[in-house]
Symmetry: C2
Subunit: 157 residues, 2 copies
Amino acid sequence: MRYWDDIAIGDRNAFGHYQVTRDEVLDFARRYDPQPFHLSDEEAAKTHFGRLAASGWHTTAMTMAMLVANMQAGEPQAGLGAAGIDELRWLKPVYPGDVLRCETVVEDTRPSSSRPDMGSTRTRMTVFNQDDVRVMSFVAIGLWRRRPAEGAPAVPS
Amino acid sequence: MRYWDDIAIGDRNAFGHYQVTRDEVLDFARRYDPQPFHLSDEEAAKTHFGRLAASGWHTTAMTMAMLVANMQAGEPQAGLGAAGIDELRWLKPVYPGDVLRCETVVEDTRPSSSRPDMGSTRTRMTVFNQDDVRVMSFVAIGLWRRRPAEGAPAVPS
């Protein structure tokens, strides 16, 4: 099990391979972001997108899909989810046909001041397309359990 | 048309009525965030969620749906989209059966230093549930066109 104590500033990871399809871009936009430039090439051509582009919130969702697949493929983690996100930036449009991938680096780790059994991390996520262009970046604030002290009972007696 | 020049610090808005359904929570989670606590009540009961809860990225997507519906119902806006998001925090779980709504307040406005025809805004978005509990908050960085100078040609001659 990977605990907060096993995570160090500078730890890096690279994973993910997400093929962005036109159908999925349209499905997401119809339900959650029905702005004209997310629904048609013609309308997108009138904007800086140039052609049909994915909703920025679709890009965050696709990134989460890559992150969860990577988590579930590896060592079990004592992660308690994310408290939030800082500095989310949509740097370049994401288009149908793009293939996305992720790189992460741990920028900070802190023990909790109020909960001695917990800690937090700040991890920079960068998403690239098939041309190695950075399309999105954010910092995820992760919450983790700390490794139980040696000899501590696994279950309170 | 509402331009950057028409937006002032302190401007407030309230809108949205989004019914969170179990089917939609499961659909989103299966595709984008298939962690056990977003897929079953039984697994969620083992976590601080207590019962099936929406992916945080689903909550951002539902919020975008409310925002776009509100934009499309009102005066046309000279908005150019969002450059990014700061200080996104998932404050409380969102459950099937919840009804979400939004409140916004403009926290800052700045003319662009490089593009005299553009400006940016920082708008705090707060999402509440039916019990007026804050479930999510973030700051959206919006990009806008500025109002063309009086007498300026609408189309370059």
